[in-house]
């Protein structure tokens, strides 16, 4: 039976939610799954990943793992991957996963099948699907490396629970001190959710007219009670209205939330590329011919400054 290694992420000693997707994705490849996390000691939530499909949860401990330690983590995980005889090593294509996966892969002498949205096993072969050209096309790739190293696009592999607990194991590991040191993590203001991880995204474009008007989108985001983030089109990021971290599109983030609300965004091809895999798309725009309506499931034509506040009221009622 094949064995998969799911690489979990923790921040401040707590397993990140995206790791549930990694375990679920690893399980989809059949066989049994071992999860691994680098930390200084027991990690809160590690015992929970069993129910997403991990048969064993290994915590590799070292004092160096207090903050993300790229070189030390890469060593420890590559070492584990070599010893464990895994058929596949799975990461999240998160900020950390995108940094860590190639470091580990290089130590294993292989490349990463990155940012995949689907995977399957047929006989000996693992095949994956990766959106390329910013989602304008899908590449199907056969991964022949041993092990296969994959990273999963966030918000695509919906975690599936099963009634079974995994076996925990804590192993202290030695690592050579790294040269690259995370000295500090400057957290965003509390309650700020990253567009790459949000279940709901409300994005604004030129139609907002000026930076201060993004307040109407922030109000709507707030009405969703912490589940929504505010995104932005390239035009308004380039104009300096919003931070690059919020940009959705080909030179920003590619997102797949359950609900994407595009407000005052005409829908340039680069923007559509970044959000077309959203599960449900709503467009609010004054121009009924705007290309955004071609990909939207639901469109409302008209003045966003009337429509969005009304929507905010309605959502507040639902969540109130």
């Amino acid at each position: 039976m094949s064995l998969a290694l799911a690489v979990l992420e923790q921040r401040d000693g707590v397993v990140r939610k995206i790791s549930h997707e990694v375990v679920t994705g690893a399980q989809r490849l059949g066989g049994s799954v071992e999860a691994v996390v680098c930390a200084t000691g027991p990690v809160q939530g590690a015992d929970q990943v069993g129910k997403f499909g991990a048969d064993k949860i290994i915590t590799l401990t070292n004092p160096a793992f207090a903050k993300y330690a790229p070189e030390e983590c890469a060593q420890a995980i590559a070492e584990r991957a070599k010893q464990g005889g895994y058929r596949v090593v799975v990461f999240a294509a998160s900020a950390t996963g995108r940094d860590l996966a190639p470091r580990v892969a290089a130590k294993l002498g292989v490349g990463v099948a990155a940012d995949i949205t689907d995977c399957a096993v047929a006989g000996d072969a693992i095949t994956v699907t990766r959106p390329v050209y910013a989602g304008k096309a899908l590449l199907k790739v056969k991964v022949a490396s041993q092990p296969a190293v994959l990273s999963l696009r966030p918000n695509v592999f919906t975690p599936v629970e099963r009634p079974k607990a995994g076996t925990p194991e804590i192993v202290a590991v030695n690592v050579a001190p790294g040269r690259v040191v995370v000295r500090e993590i400057k957290a965003a203001p509390a309650g700020t959710l990253d567009v790459a991880e949000a279940q709901i995204i409300i994005s604004g474009g030129r139609g907002l007219k000026e930076p201060a008007n993004f307040k109407v989108l922030e109000e709507l985001a707030k009405a969703f009670g912490g589940k929504a983030a505010v995104g932005a089109s390239r035009a308004v990021v380039d104009a300096g209205w919003r931070a690059h971290a919020d940009q959705v599109g080909q030179t920003g983030k590619t997102v797949s939330p359950s609900l994407y609300i595009a407000v005052g965004i005409s829908g340039a091809i680069q923007h559509l590329a970044g959000m077309r895999t959203s599960k449900v798309i709503v467009a609010i725009n004054k121009d009924k011919d705007a290309p955004i309506f071609k990909v939207a499931d639901y469109g409302v034509v008209g003045d966003l400054f009337e429509i969005v506040p009304r929507l905010t009221e309605e959502i507040r009622k639902l969540h109130g």
């Binding site: 910013a134 096309a137 920003g252």
Partner: protein
């Protein structure tokens, strides 16, 4: 300071993707190719570092792995102000990023570079790994997705965006960095630069890519989204929109 910048020739982001007859690749007819936008930040950063150092401030070399037409992409970087270019010429860019990194690392190995810069990813392949793979192959420290950078002597401090926060990372030089949007504002090549670029040295070296372990089976258009509907006009349509989102789409 000796800086190498690795760039990629990619289809412009406006490109409408057509699949070639082999069913595995992009139909390149009529496609405009440009320098990968993230690589522009890398070129700009290298030029600024060199300019800051003043006369005798070192060298900015541009490295591109790609087909013969990659020379044009290199000329763009030379027109921005880089000193020389190297094209590692292949017929086709390898499907396996490890192969790309292997060829680039082999070329850079003997260069005694202080900094090697990459864009954090290419907008065509979305692999976001060639920089980090190359760093590992060269045994150099690496920081990815750098959006702010300070260098003093042989010590660097970089900032990189993570979900909902910024990591402040210290590293020693020489190092490999992959850079993100926000690091700087890339310059446009001036006419003078474009003229000068024509005379700058550009080495073309044939490179051999092995098959690697990632094999492309198919390239296909994404599934069409099912046709949506206009719910209505103005704030009066919001009630119906919310009902549809709850009852039909079930996302609220």
């Amino acid at each position: 300071m000796k800086i190498a910048v690795c760039i990629k020739r990619v289809p412009d982001s406006e490109t409408r993707v057509k699949i070639a007859s082999d069913g595995k690749s992009l139909d390149e007819s009529g496609v405009k190719f440009v320098m990968n936008p993230y690589d522009e930040f890398a070129v700009e950063e290298a030029l600024r570092r060199k300019e800051k150092a003043g006369s005798g401030g070192g060298e900015v070399a541009i490295l591109c792995l790609g087909p013969a037409a990659g020379q044009e992409t290199i000329r763009t970087a030379l027109a921005m102000g880089a000193d020389r270019g190297i094209l590692l010429q292949v017929d086709k860019i390898p499907a396996d990023p490890f192969e790309t990194a292997r060829i680039i690392a082999a070329e850079l190995k003997s260069g005694s570079w202080d900094l090697i810069l990459f864009g954090r990813m290419a907008i065509d392949g979305y692999n976001h790994q060639v920089g980090a793979l190359t760093a590992e192959l060269l045994g150099l420290p690496c920081v990815t997705a750098v959006s702010h950078l300070e260098i003093e002597g042989t010590k660097g401090v970089a900032e990189r965006e993570i979900e909902g926060a910024i990591e402040v990372v210290e590293f020693p030089l020489p190092a490999v960095l992959t850079v993100d949007k926000g690091l700087n504002e890339p310059r446009y090549p001036a006419l003078k630069g474009i003229m000068a670029a024509k005379k700058k040295p550009l080495d073309v070296k044939p490179a051999h890519a092995s098959a690697g372990t990632l094999e492309v089976l198919t390239l296909s258009p994404p599934p069409d989204r099912k046709e949506g509907k206009i719910v209505g006009e103005g704030a009066g349509a919001v009630g119906e929109l919310v009902r549809l989102l709850r009852e039909e789409a079930k996302v609220l």
